[in-house]
């Protein structure tokens, strides 16, 4: 692997980036002004629009057994009853009971309407204390999709103008020009040229008709150039006809994370149109958890029709290449046991489990699985953009501790992850907890195990 960013460079970038991320709340425009009645009406409108037959059946199947609490890292770590996942759906349930349930005629007189105070109290429950990881879905005896319904709650909060300032700032920025953390086209080009210089071959840009489009994210552009660089180096090594694009490089979607559905749709639509204009067959989304479901499952919804390209995440694309023999990796000796973190949005919400494991096996790693793995994996603690919320700092550390506890119990001395925000949260968690376990990008690991081969077209000679 060619080193595209040194450890020192990364640490400096990390310190600068962390400082910037910590202050974005102060930069946000003031929250939208509206009357209390308007806030309640807007939230209710979102709830009512989101309740279909499936949601109604699931809400009517809840037994209040509390099993979901025992799957939630925030409850496990604090024992605070208010973090019980199903409690986070109480407002939705109220609206359903009063307005849409087959028994609404009977329940309405006994079910008070939601108030603006309810909405304000809900903010902490559906942002700070829930990363929509969906682990609670996996334990519920009625299999209620609590994770998705918390997402509906975030949409209701955003519509009511109550999304946290940090997420409003991120959303406003991306709504305006499609970029995050100021990673505009100039910065993207700077990073690509930087990687190009270090890798020593030309990185194709805006190549129409290429087989594969590789996307990146603001986080990788600023911080984790090794992830983007690793993916580029591997694609080049495999001889894949790939490209990056100035009009479709940002994989992150802060409309999706913050609950602004119109922004989510707009961003996905923009990327989809740019991808279709390029005519690529496959899109590789970056090591950025939510960017996978946002495009893989969101593109067709945003366009209102099926789309004609495949979407894969980095670990999925390269893992499959390893599995079907298109990518040979060099097995090396790794004395330290490694743990794999399955990012929730890619794993539990995306089904990508075997591919990263095959990659690690091909690299010769001694993988120590955490007790909760694959679809039962614990979140890093800072998913769904929570890593940006200072108000969630305590809870993030709680989530990190639960996760890290399993990693330590597995005897792992190294951690690999294929998601930038998980990586960010682990890095911050380590600093706060005084831990020192190295956290690596899977894409960078792949690149580090590429066997030496003869010069391919485009290499510097």
């Amino acid at each position: 692997m060619t080193e595209v960013i040194t450890k020192q460079e990364r640490e400096e970038a990390f310190a600068m980036f962390y400082g910037m991320a910590a202050s974005i709340g102060e930069l946000a425009d003031p929250a939208p002004e509206m009357t209390d009645e308007e806030r309640v009406e807007r939230a209710k409108e979102v709830f009512l629009k989101g309740i279909d037959n499936n949601v109604a059946v699931q809400l009517d199947a809840c037994l209040h057994c509390g099993a979901c609490a025992q799957a939630c890292q925030f409850f496990i770590g604090t024992e605070d009853p208010k973090y019980t996942p199903i409690h986070k759906l109480d407002l939705l349930k109220k609206v359903y009971k009063r307005e849409l349930s087959p028994l609404s005629w009977l329940l309405k007189p006994f079910t008070p309407d939601i108030t603006v105070e309810d909405l304000r109290n809900q903010v902490e429950l559906v942002y700070d204390s829930c990363t929509m990881c969906g682990r609670c879905n996996m334990v519920c005896p009625s299999a209620i999709n609590i994770g998705d319904l918390v997402s509906l709650n975030r949409s209701a909060m955003a519509a009511a103008g109550l999304a946290p300032a940090e997420l409003r700032y991120m959303r406003d920025g991306q709504e305006a020009d499609g970029t995050i953390f100021g990673a505009d086209e100039d910065l993207f080009m700077f990073r690509i040229q930087d990687i190009q210089q270090k890798l020593g071959f030309e990185i194709p840009l805006n190549k129409k008709g290429a087989d594969v489009l590789l996307m990146t994210s603001g986080l990788d552009i600023h911080l984790f150039a090794d992830a983007t660089g690793g993916a580029i180096e591997t694609l080049h090594h495999m001889g894949v006809d790939y490209t990056l694009a100035t009009d479709a490089y940002e994989g992150a979607n802060f409309g999706s994370l913050s609950g602004y559905d119109a922004t989510k749709k707009k961003l996905t639509k923009h990327s989809t149109e740019a991808i279709e204009a390029l005519g690529v067959k496959t899109v590789i989304v970056p090591e950025c958890g939510h960017s996978y479901p946002a495009l893989r499952f969101g593109a067709a919804e945003a366009m209102g029709r099926p789309v004609n390209f495949e979407v894969m995440t980095v670990s999925e694309y390269f893992g499959r290449a390893v599995m079907d023999g298109r990518l040979k990796l060099e097995k090396k000796s790794h004395p330290k046991p490694i743990a794999l973190h399955d990012p929730c949005k890619v794993g539990r919400w995306g089904g990508v489990f075997d591919e990263p494991r095959e990659i690690l096996k091909a690299c010769g790693y001694d993988l120590h699985e955490t007790e909760s793995n694959r679809q039962y994996n614990f979140c890093c603690g800072g998913g769904a953009a929570n890593f940006l919320l200072p108000s969630a700092d305590k809870l993030k550390r709680v989530g990190y501790r639960v996760k890290m506890g399993e990693i330590e119990a597995a005897g792992a001395e190294e951690l690999v992850v294929s998601c930038g925000s998980c990586r960010m949260n682990f890095e911050v968690g380590k600093v706060k907890a005084g831990d020192s376990i190295p956290v690596e990008s899977l894409a960078a690991i792949i690149a580090a195990h590429l066997p030496k081969k003869e010069t391919v077209e485009g290499d510097k000679v």
Binding site: D52, S142, G298, A300, E301
Partner: protein, 218 residues
Amino acid sequence: MTLLEFARGPALQWAAVIFVIGMLWRTLGLLLMLRSRPLSKDRKKGLAGAGVKTMFSRFLLPKVFAKRVGFQYLLGWIWHVGFVLTVFFFQVHVMFFKGLVGFGWPALPNSVVLPVAAVSLGILVILLVRRMTNPMLRYISNFNDYSSVIVTILPFATGFATFTHIGVLPYETLLALHFLSVALLLVWFPFSKLFHVITVLPSRYILGVKFWRRGVEA
């Protein structure tokens, strides 16, 4: 009309009518609601099969949750099995149903059903006390949760009292109270969380399909 005549006559009959209409109303109301359909391509085939699988796999607890949820899962299992055995396989109940539908089925000996019913009743009481004393459960519980357990306990308690003739009340009164408690259960059923009898399997199916679309066994 004596209390017993009222209990096993109009009270039970009207309760049954309310039960049937209520269950149909709520079920049809749910069925008639619109459904959104995803447009994106599925990652896996065989969605219906996966949905059915989840309907049954959720009867078992994934090993990773055993430490924290195993006890309540076990109680839930024993209680539900005990309920079915007591209601449908207690000799007196089988005779009652035979009178109602015209045919019967083999009953379990009293020596089996009575301990089963006692255990079920005990578990219900434990679940109620647990709900009242566990801070998390107490926090999330509402009237529906408490009343549903109490309304379910009553037929068991009155049934035991009737069978064993325990208490100061005459047998006929105890039997009437048993019928009335069953009537209350029937009336309460469609309007409470006891309705999960209808929704729990479809709910599991929904998640099973949703996750299998994404390639995940739920």
